[in-house]
Point group: C2
Chain length 448, copies 2
């Protein structure tokens, strides 16, 4: 790693690449961003990755540090908790935070276009339709294919922010002793849509993340500022209940009517959306090292995760903020920054990757279980009484950006062990308010 | 997968690709083999992968089925057991089999050249210095770069036998929902050499695999027909005791004299070999699926394993034999053969991958432990008394090709649980001959 780079090439103009370019341009680097796709600001077609995202504290903080959080929050819809829909349309609400905290439904493309505009204001140069076809790690040189020809770009530092299927990581993967795994879950996802009502109103409760938990699979819906909802079905690719078995309109309609009757009634374009939208897969990417010579991985390129904790973008944005803090700490000496960045963030990336896999089980199955909801209620009470001693895992991950993912994961394990015992109390559903909450809270050992 | 292919392209003219081409040519297919390197028969330079290998029953059986086992056994040296060298040069022998069974030290390049010659006799066409740069899975088409130009070859079936860093697998890896991991152990290896004595004699006991177990690392030596030994140091890349710390001749010599005094005295070219030979890494590759459209992976391309069970080549050869059995079973209907091949062999590949990792601990550490040697002695006695009921794990893997790797692994786990209890008997070292061997043997439940 070169100590003091002047020119930095970022590969990937997605959310993380764009935000990172702002951070680095503000520090005085000459930043070029190369993007495989066309400029979505000129000819927006939609499609590609998921339509909206849940922006939460880690992401907000990273936006705040470059003065962009307030503007983005304007374009988002707050979601204050999970609203579960059972098969009969009965609703159960579970708040996310104990003190009115919420996460923010935001448009992926809107946020991305905004960040690119801001980056250009900071002097970042964007090159679109530049497909990276080779990386020379020795020379810190990228080879791109664009519409017309093949071009080589040499710089002092390459940062791969090119997502879960990173071309930069592919170059690292064939270098010696590179640890790598890609693991797909058995579920895929398909995006659908609930339009506004006749008077432009939201057709479901606006400020919530809706879940139709069905044990081995689920449907969710996130609100958009235009009064639509983005609906996503997470469903196995193969097997008894699977996308494979939904081969025509009749089968799709029968499945939805039987399984999600309340929402089916308000999805007039269900069959069309189901036919037209792709069934996408869900991958977890783990790798090491993230640094080789003067090339560095960041965001999904370094740690692709499943979406069930709503933390993919937030983790990538936090990468940018942590990198920036380390640049402050070491006066932009990248030979110190890069290895420490990897050391810190690899542990946190591994933690959130696992938490995200675990949370799928919680969302699709446990949230429909009264015992689980009682467990959450008891934890909320402990937190209310002892707000510093006991912070529920979801809150640590989502609302407490001062707590590292890896620490949150460890504390979550300790809490689970304690709560397993608490839940074994006879007649807990009747007697839970009589629990000795002080004793429970103090049985949780803090880290170190 | 096309039901009845006529033309088959095998990528990789290594051991597995060459043997497979013989099997398939004998069945009447038109087989072409494409190899990235030059023809080693024309200009043998040595180097590359390890110099010798341990051929055992699974590999021998696969050679036998095409009539080539007898010829190869002529060029090998039998190794009847492990001969451990402690730090004072004291020797301990542990036989491999209870009834004089042995494994065979054989030259990798000698075997490979022999198989290529045999394949050509069967009408196989070899293309050397053909580097595969692209695979079109839809069209079953390969793109090669050779010395002069770029060529496309279309066939009915592609088989990737191109090793742990397979180009064919790289094409599968970027297809959707491909499970993949590459994991390196912290040790690397370096090959060294013991020359014959003045009268052309072997300088160590000939018919043994020599081990210098040193807990966290080890040296091994395998005999060659020309009275040399190939010596391999398995040692961490980094850390307190590591290759990184051996930076000059003095440090290398001091390390060897202190750690392996007996063998250092008979390695006159130690320093030269240490300097000239690369330090190579050791990887485990796991992936799935092995079949996509009309492209299939086999051997190390499908399941790269570490060398500590001496089963890499044997597993690859067994792949060929199993594939051939399935072609018999299904009258060459590849649409049935390919998925069943993967189903059978994936379970066995996963088993031998784990067994090979476990065996490193056994070789470098446990074989120096008197309690472990006693455990092996007791197991050998049980096997002697109840030869069908209790076959030691090493024997199942190495000598019993009728037992699948996955079954051997499962039986090995059951044996270990029983032996852990046996070894907890008070004063076992004095009283072991009084054990109720019949009871021990019958406590081992057979599979299914």
């Amino acid at each position: 790693m070169k100590k003091k780079p002047t020119t930095i090439s970022i590969v990937g103009a997605g959310l993380v690449g764009s935000l990172l370019s702002i951070y680095l341009a503000r520090r005085g680097y000459q930043v070029s961003v190369y993007e495989r796709r066309f400029d979505m600001r000129k000819n927006f077609l939609g499609g590609g990755r998921s339509i909206n995202l849940a922006l939460s504290n880690r992401g907000i903080r990273a936006l705040e540090e470059v003065g962009l959080a307030a503007e983005m929050k304007k374009h988002s819809v707050p979601m204050k908790g999970r609203l579960m829909h059972d098969i009969n349309g009965k609703l159960t609400f579970q708040p996310y935070g104990t003190s009115g905290q919420y996460i923010n439904s935001i448009s992926r493309s809107g946020l991305n276009m905004f960040l690119m505009d801001e980056a250009e204001k900071q002097g970042v140069n964007f090159f679109f339709e530049y497909r990276c076809i080779d990386v020379n790690l020795e020379k810190t040189e990228l080879t791109f294919q664009n519409q017309h020809d093949i071009r080589h770009h040499q710089s002092d530092l390459i940062i791969g922010a090119d997502g879960a299927f990173s071309a930069i990581r592919a170059a690292l993967q064939v270098s010696d002793r590179f640890e790598y795994s890609q693991h797909y879950i058995e579920h895929g996802y398909k995006e659908l849509r609930i339009p506004p009502g006749e008077k432009g109103e939201f057709m479901l409760e606006r400020e919530a993340l809706h879940i139709w938990p069905r044990e081995s699979y689920m449907l969710i819906a996130l609100p958009n500022p235009d009064a639509t909802f983005t609906v996503t079905l997470f469903y196995p690719f193969e097997g008894e209940n699977s996308f494979q078995k939904l081969t025509n309109d009749e089968e799709v309609m029968a499945f939805f009517k039987k399984t999600f009757p309340d929402v089916t009634a308000i999805m007039p374009s269900l069959l069309e959306d189901f036919r037209d939208n792709p069934t996408s897969s869900l991958v977890t990417i783990r790798c090491a090292p993230w640094v080789k010579n003067s090339t560095l991985l960041i965001g999904d390129a370094a740690h692709g995760i499943v979406p069930f904790y709503g933390q993919g973008m937030n983790a990538g944005f936090e990468d940018c903020a942590v990198l920036n803090q380390l640049l402050d700490k070491y006066q932009d000496d990248w030979s110190k920054v890069a290895p420490e960045f990897e050391k810190l963030r690899k542990a946190d990336a591994d933690a959130i990757a696992q938490l995200a896999l675990d949370n799928f089980v919680e969302m699709r199955d446990l949230v429909a279980d009264p015992e689980f909801l009682l467990r959450k209620k008891i934890e909320a009470r402990i937190h209310e009484l002892f707000p510093k001693q006991w912070i529920p895992l979801y809150s640590m991950v989502t609302f407490h950006d001062e707590i590292r993912y890896s620490d949150a994961q460890e504390m979550g394990k300790r809490q689970k062990a304690i709560m397993d015992k608490v839940m074994a109390t006879p007649d807990i559903e009747k007697n839970w308010e009589k629990l000795n909450f002080g004793e429970i809270a103090s049985s949780l050992k803090p880290l170190q």
